[in-house]
């Protein structure tokens, strides 16, 4: 039994502590070493996996293109009337649902934030809000628009137009000023109806008061791009009414 204050204890205890330090130091050093080694090997492994996946994606994409060409060829060669009817019906449904790009006569309503004017008292007064876009879109649907897109974001049955901070989100994509609301429909009727709407009158006032940009263009063909998001209904199911 070594006494607490015996000379042996006084010599041994610090020595043990120093030994412990040496032990901890070497363990820590070797642990850090192996950690950095593991990181390096992991990175190269991940890089290899990414490269491999990219290659397989490219292969699958070319396979998809091949198969699509085959399907088109088979559909063209099969002269069946039912198939052709189905294809026509499908084209109509695709156009209506927004999953294909469409073009035709129409109007483009251009809305823009006011320039950085110092006199503007309220920030939100000088910016286009989600409500403004919603009302413009509503007025266009009311005027008989068949397809509408805002800055290339096609409006479909699940589309929402809303503010997120200082930006406007359409289909969860961030859009910024100027906003081009492209609508396909009967040009003159749609334009007349839209210009008579409340929102158009309001925008004409706001244009002068706040300096917001507002104009209506009437190009001969308006291109409305396809909805690119995913449409997967998990809860809504088709009711067999008939």
């Amino acid at each position: 039994m070594i006494k607490r204050n015996s000379p042996t204890a006084r010599a041994i205890a610090p020595a043990l502590v120093v030994g412990l330090l040496a032990f901890l130091l070497t363990v820590d050093l070797s642990a850090q070493n192996s950690a950095s080694k593991i990181n390096a090997t992991r990175r190269s492994e991940l890089a290899a996996i990414v490269a491999e996946r990219q290659k397989s994606t490219a292969a699958l994409e070319s396979r998809l293109a091949q198969l699509r060409a085959q399907v088109a060829a088979i559909a063209a060669s099969a002269g069946s009337a039912t198939l052709r009817n189905l294809q026509e019906a499908m084209a109509g449904i695709e156009a209506a649902s927004g999953s294909t790009a469409v073009s035709g006569p129409g109007i483009v309503v251009r809305l823009a934030d006011a320039g950085p004017t110092d006199q503007s008292t309220n920030q939100s007064d000088s910016r286009i809000q989600d409500v403004d876009l919603q009302e413009v879109v509503n007025a266009l649907w009311d005027a008989g628009a068949e397809a509408i897109a805002i800055n290339g974001q096609r409006l479909v049955s699940t589309s929402a137009i809303r503010n997120a901070g200082s930006a406007v989100l359409v289909n969860f994509r961030v859009l910024t000023s100027p906003y081009l609301v492209e609508a396909i429909g009967d040009q003159s009727a749609m334009r007349a109806s839209f210009e008579a709407s409340t929102i158009a009158h309001r925008f004409k006032t706001w244009e002068q008061v706040y300096g917001l940009g507002f104009s209506i263009e009437q190009p001969s063909t308006v291109q409305v791009s396809a909805y690119t998001g995913s449409v997967r209904f998990r809860y809504a199911q088709i009711q067999n009414a008939r």
Binding site: I12, V18, G19, A22, L24, L25, V27, A31, Q32
Partner: protein, 109 residues
């Protein structure tokens, strides 16, 4: 003599056994090592100044190492992510001060 021997044995054990540090301990070991280093330099300084006390040395070594690791652990639990920096700064400054004191004694400069 005994100290040098113990130092060599410690290094030998660390290299020879090659113990695996559990991943959950990984952030705390370096903190404990920092604290331990501080205690050792503090002890060396005390030895040169003639105020060395083995009990103070042993207790400060163990308590510093455990407290530093515990502090970082508590920090991560409380959501203070950079608690390591507090430990590194405090013990870094103290190690430098101890080294400076040792240098002054050894070289009178």
């Amino acid at each position: 003599m005994l100290v040098v021997l113990s130092l060599l044995v410690g290094i030998g054990l660390g290299v020879g056994l090659h113990p695996v540090v559990p991943p959950s301990w990984a952030p705390y070991l370096p903190m404990a090592v920092m604290a331990a280093l501080d205690s050792v330099f503090g002890g060396l300084r005390a030895r040169f100044e003639g105020t060395f006390n083995d009990r103070v040395f042993v207790i400060s070594f163990l308590s510093n190492a455990i407290l530093a690791a515990l502090l970082v652990w508590a920090g991560t639990r409380l959501g203070v992510q950079e608690m390591e920096i507090a430990v590194v700064v405090v013990f870094g400054v103290r190690i430098f001060q101890n080294l400076a004191a040792i240098r002054r004694i050894l070289f009178h400069a």
